[in-house]
């Protein structure tokens, strides 16, 4: 009975997502009147500029928001369960720092490396940053996998991941220091995150990558529930711990690396959404928390995207700022509102 209610609630969450999607398509820097907006949606409008804006600028962006919200939340959930640490998030293993390093080298370095950068830039255009980001995050990922076969202890792996992240960040700072101001600015803008850099071709690459991470996560629901009892107990229950650990690392890194490559590092979502879901649904059971995170994460990032557009103005706020500004009070409000109940996790 309780299960049925939960399932209904989860399914019902799809409705607000659709509504938010439409809102995100309608609101933007350029004002489009509502009735005309519906004309555009139904294909009756002949305003080529607005048609282009809605279907080639806003729709890819809205879909990116949904996928990013879902993906980061799932990756964050997996990290929190694997490390049994409520402060873990998708970037805890240094994946986004590695991506940052890749992009920093691509954007800011000079002389020899510039030569290669420009080849990549020439070939891929704006995609050069994507390639550089994937390169950087893959490097960190491979290091993590290599180390995880030597360090069995999960907590140590977490610390090593954090250290890799710090190392990458330090190198990035050095690059920033020696670089021209315009290039530094270009890089800083990347770090602020952007949901609008992805067009339809990029989505064609991003969606399959992230979705395969989702598929893996669904198959990991059962062992992740067992992991709540601790690694030893999980092993005793019948979980193939080593295999599950690798799968979690791989799928979480795949999702995170793919997202960061296209959107830059977007903070806060991966860390907070699983907590919000656990608090709202009152459970840590991954059968509920995983789909809940996907749905709630999509909703949250779409809302942040709408807010960042500042409808009617030419200025657009960086998505990273909005996710933190918006998300942090939400979590605080939920925790305080529920202070009489035991806080999950």
């Amino acid at each position: 009975m309780r299960n049925r209610i939960t399932t209904i609630v989860l399914l019902a969450l799809i409705i607000p997502i659709v509504v938010l999607l439409l809102l995100d398509l309608w609101l933007g820097s350029v004002y489009i009147p509502v009735d005309h907006f519906f004309d555009i949606l139904t294909g009756k409008s002949d305003n080529t500029g607005w048609n282009y804006i809605v279907f080639y600028l806003r729709l890819p962006r809205a879909i990116t928001a949904i996928i990013t919200g879902a993906g980061l939340s799932v990756a964050g959930l997996m990290m929190q369960t694997l490390f049994r640490n409520p402060l873990a998030g998708p970037f805890v293993l240094g994946i986004s720092s590695g991506a940052s390093l890749g992009v920093a080298v691509f954007v800011m370095s000079s002389s020899i490396i510039t030569f290669f950068n420009m080849e990549i830039g020439y070939f891929f255009g704006a995609g050069g940053q994507v390639v550089a980001s994937i390169f950087g995050s893959s490097l960190v990922f491979l290091l993590i996998i290599a180390i995880s076969s030597k360090i069995r202890d999960t907590i140590s792996l977490l610390i090593v991941g954090i250290m890799f992240g710090s190392l990458a960040t330090a190198i990035v700072s050095i690059l920033q220091y020696f670089s021209e101001p315009e290039l530094v600015q270009k890089f800083v803008i990347w770090t602020l995150g952007s949901l609008s850099s992805t067009g339809w071709e990029q989505l064609g690459l991003m969606i399959p990558l992230v979705c395969s991470g989702f598929v893996a996560a669904v198959f990991l629901i059962k062992p992740m529930n067992a992991l709540l009892l601790g690694e030893e107990n999980a092993k005793a229950t019948g979980v193939r711990i080593e295999r599950v650990k690798y799968l979690i690392l791989i799928s979480s890194s795949l999702i995170t690396g793919s997202l960061v490559a296209f959107t830059g590092p977007i903070a806060f979502i991966g860390l907070s959404v699983p907590h919000i879901v656990r608090l709202l649904f009152g459970t840590s059971n991954h059968r509920i928390v995983l789909p809940g995170s996907i749905l709630l994460g999509s909703m949250l990032v779409t809302i942040c995207d709408i807010l960042s557009q500042i409808p009617g103005h030419s200025m657009v706020l960086p998505i990273n700022a909005i996710t933190a500004l918006f998300g942090a009070p939400v979590v605080i409000w939920i925790i305080i509102g529920r202070k009489n109940r035991k806080i999950a996790f």
Partner: protein, 339 residues
């Protein structure tokens, strides 16, 4: 025919130990050839560091033995996949910290891990086993309670229920009662015996609760400091003198007649005690506790204590003091009595 009990688990030439960082071998037990039979509760005892946990974990396949093999059913345990292993044995560890907000039934449901499908959907049979297991451990009404609202004793029972739900014939427990209070300790151990008898499991419990073990176990495996094992019934163990050999020291000794440990008291002196009523027995014990020898018959001690129904009178070299409280009496006597 009567001896046709099913032997589930056998160890063969098992050597227990571990390698430290430099690669040196620390041997804990050598050449163990044991077997666990269904329908019996075996308690594993031994001094700290003798290898109780190591044995449990090695048998459970959580650790590799330094030498020798463990067979379950008729197959070697390390050849089994994790899934097969957990169909044959279940293990309850000391620390059962659970992260997160899950219900009792969700935890017990994990006992059905090897029987459910890829996403863990529970069939009717699974649900039945879960309810049944909870009933057997006395937690039937707790099914939908959140795990962290339970007391420590109840939490431990949940994990035992999880082990039951897995239908594994062998149950291994590593000091399941260490942080429980006495009624819970007793409760858990007698529950385990019931499960062994009624649900036909082979139960091996590593424990420090010697007194309970001696009263409840069908067999005791005593890990000795010379890296050998002494197996027997509790009664044979008591009268073998081994307990005193291993555990006895200046402070404690094991008394075979009472079947318990008692403190070796150092006496500071003696008093002559006279009296009647129900408090006489109490006073004798109290005096023994504080280290005062009691002479019931000779009236010649310098300190004389007279106990009545509601008061104590202390006669010290002629001076008399009176007290209505045993505590106070003891305090006075500790000051006054000398060898």
């Amino acid at each position: 025919m009567f001896a046709d009990h099913h032997t589930h688990l056998v160890t063969e030439n098992l050597y227990l130990g571990y390698y430290n960082k430099e690669g040196r071998l620390y041997l804990l037990q050598k050449d163990m050839n044991e077997s666990l039979v269904e329908g019996e509760l075996v308690c594993l005892i031994g001094p700290n560091g003798s290898g109780k946990s190591t044995l449990i974990r090695t048998i459970a396949g959580l650790q590799k033995p330094v030498g020798g093999k463990v067979f379950i059913g008729s197959r070697e345990i390390n050849q089994l996949t994790n899934t097969e292993k957990s169909k044959h044995l279940s293990i309850v560890l000391t620390d059962n910290a659970v992260m997160g907000n899950i219900t009792v039934s969700e935890i017990v449901a994990l006992g059905r891990y090897n029987y459910t499908n890829w996403i863990g959907t529970l069939e009717k049979e699974d649900r039945r086993k879960i309810s049944e297991s909870l009933k057997k451990v006395g937690l039937r009404e707790f099914e939908n309670r959140k795990f962290d609202t339970l007391s420590d004793g109840e939490k431990q029972r949940v994990f035992i229920a999880k082990g039951l739900a897995s239908d594994a014939p062998v149950m291994l427990l590593d000091e399941p009662t260490s942080h429980l209070d006495i009624p819970n300790k007793a409760g858990i151990l007698s529950l385990l015996r019931n499960l062994a008898y009624r649900s036909n499991r082979a139960v091996l419990v590593a424990t420090h609760e010697l007194d309970l073990a001696l009263k409840l176990a069908d067999a005791i495996w005593f890990l000795l400091p010379d890296k050998s094992i002494f197996k027997s019934t509790p009664e044979e163990l008591i009268f073998s003198g081994k307990l005193n050999e291993v555990f006895g020291n200046e402070l404690v000794s094991f008394h075979a007649n009472s079947g318990t440990f008692s403190m070796n008291t150092e006496y500071i002196g003696s008093v002559s005690l006279k009296g009647e009523g129900k408090f006489l027995e109490i006073t004798v014990r109290a005096l023994d506790r504080i280290g005062v020898k009691v002479n019931l018959r000779s009236p010649d001690d310098p300190v004389k204590v007279y106990v009545d129904n509601d008061r104590w009178i202390i006669d010290w070299k002629g001076k008399k003091s009176e007290s209505f409280f045993l505590v106070e009496t003891c305090r006075i006597l500790r000051k006054v009595v000398k060898k």
